[in-house]
Symmetry: D2
Subunit: 175 residues, 4 copies
Amino acid sequence: MTETTPGWLSDDELELTRARMPILYVDAVPVRVDDRGEVTHVGLLLRIGPDGTVSRTLVSGRVLHHERVRDALLRHLEKDLGPVALPHVPASLQPFTIAEYFPTQGITPFHDPRQHAVSLAYVVPVAGDCRPRQDALDLVWLTPSEAVSPELQQEMPGGQGVLLKQALSHVGCLG
Amino acid sequence: MTETTPGWLSDDELELTRARMPILYVDAVPVRVDDRGEVTHVGLLLRIGPDGTVSRTLVSGRVLHHERVRDALLRHLEKDLGPVALPHVPASLQPFTIAEYFPTQGITPFHDPRQHAVSLAYVVPVAGDCRPRQDALDLVWLTPSEAVSPELQQEMPGGQGVLLKQALSHVGCLG
Amino acid sequence: MTETTPGWLSDDELELTRARMPILYVDAVPVRVDDRGEVTHVGLLLRIGPDGTVSRTLVSGRVLHHERVRDALLRHLEKDLGPVALPHVPASLQPFTIAEYFPTQGITPFHDPRQHAVSLAYVVPVAGDCRPRQDALDLVWLTPSEAVSPELQQEMPGGQGVLLKQALSHVGCLG
Amino acid sequence: MTETTPGWLSDDELELTRARMPILYVDAVPVRVDDRGEVTHVGLLLRIGPDGTVSRTLVSGRVLHHERVRDALLRHLEKDLGPVALPHVPASLQPFTIAEYFPTQGITPFHDPRQHAVSLAYVVPVAGDCRPRQDALDLVWLTPSEAVSPELQQEMPGGQGVLLKQALSHVGCLG
């Protein structure tokens, strides 16, 4: 499934629209949980940018026309974690927060130079085997305390380090 | 402030985009609360459609490019309830639910023939004097039990009766 | 594990305390979800009271001294659904609502003649095989629309029918 | 109103019960918000302990027998902030988190040497004039970034610094 399906936007149209409307996104924080549901690890994707910089990111992407939020979450989780990650998308779609990414810096903690994106953010336990695909080099599982270390926070672009801390706060793992 | 400001979409462009992308909305359920914060009444707008049908609606509208969700809420509340309604937008932007309006009926309880809209839904206490403007004829305050009556639910188009019930459920007023 | 462990209350002490303090409870709504996390069924326990009346209930019980809320949820789920139900307790302990059961009727929709109980309410997907134990005769899986039917609501004592509707509202299954 | 009203616990009984049951609490984070509902400041109570140590705390206290959670919140807010603080208790009693205070250190981030307390935590905007009473010496309003400074966090006992960070995270003010 590619994003060039009729009814969706061509790349040019997407560029134009990005300058005119907020774009709906989902952000998923993949986690490992123990038998009691408590978060033990968070998964971060390791990416190498065009300029060689290392960055660590959450699972993130657009919601498409006529796509349910639930299906968008699953599509991006499968795209980034592979087909056997077995994500448990929450029964309720009440997000733990709304992340507002602006093309202008400093309006919120979140920044996306390409667009104004508004993202529904979820914590998603994954039970299966994760095999990063596409442009992600690797997936690393970190403990909550490792995940909020200043070093790691610096490697998360666009404010995603803040979003990760909000997720850990929501699940009671903000030490 | 109109929606023809440069940087936003012309009517034609909006039509085109509506066929290609989910459009980000906010829905607000205006409520009166007592001194303890408990909801005593919900406010519904009375509208007369082009074909003469009566409908009752929540406060609802698009989020614009480069507009914060919080500001979009305030703009639509002021547009529909007037300038002295004194809405108390919640400190947290965690919505009580996400309403997915599809142009196709039956996918979710929510339907919008014009577009695929994804709406962040909030309960908003209003403390001041409400004077409906624009195309709303009147604002009626109803008790929670009046608001969930089958007669009234039938007058709420596009599934907004369900969204109203979800709001009342969230604030503990679902009978 | 019984509730007579030293450090916990004897039956007499429990009676006395119930007349003096709010008692902390958890309520769990067991659900089946599909691959996308959407609720397809809710599980209700069928009980026969001392007077022969049939009632349907959620999984519910006290939190004990020095017990984590998460462990209380698991203990009551195992007690009522058996050891291989495989409940997925949510990663976040933010409850979808607080149910306040009063010994006096009419203060809230919730009523418990024995005590003032305040319950943290959760929706809990269960993936395994459920075998009701203790005083429950049976566990029945119902679709969301079956679960909110007036007949069934009447069989749920103490306001648990309202709590079930709140749970279904929270997961977007309140039609 | 004192806590020796018949039907409530005497001091001796409270001591005994604290050793046997989890005690239900509420925690309120008082905040100032701007016209758009965004948090600008958080209020912390300054207390001097019996041993002269300075501590900063949230508004916190027990829920009494037959008292609604909403009324307990208002009672403790009035006790700590005075009668004209004009707190806006949220329309929904869904807490942003549950804080589990254990008498044993290290089980959760929260610790109370006296008891096992489970607290429902809320962010409460206050619009009026705050005049600390009882054992609080002063109320200080801090910006979110001041409130999460390591110095200030060290002055907050029992894990309340963590709870404050969770509150700020929930309202989107975590750095």
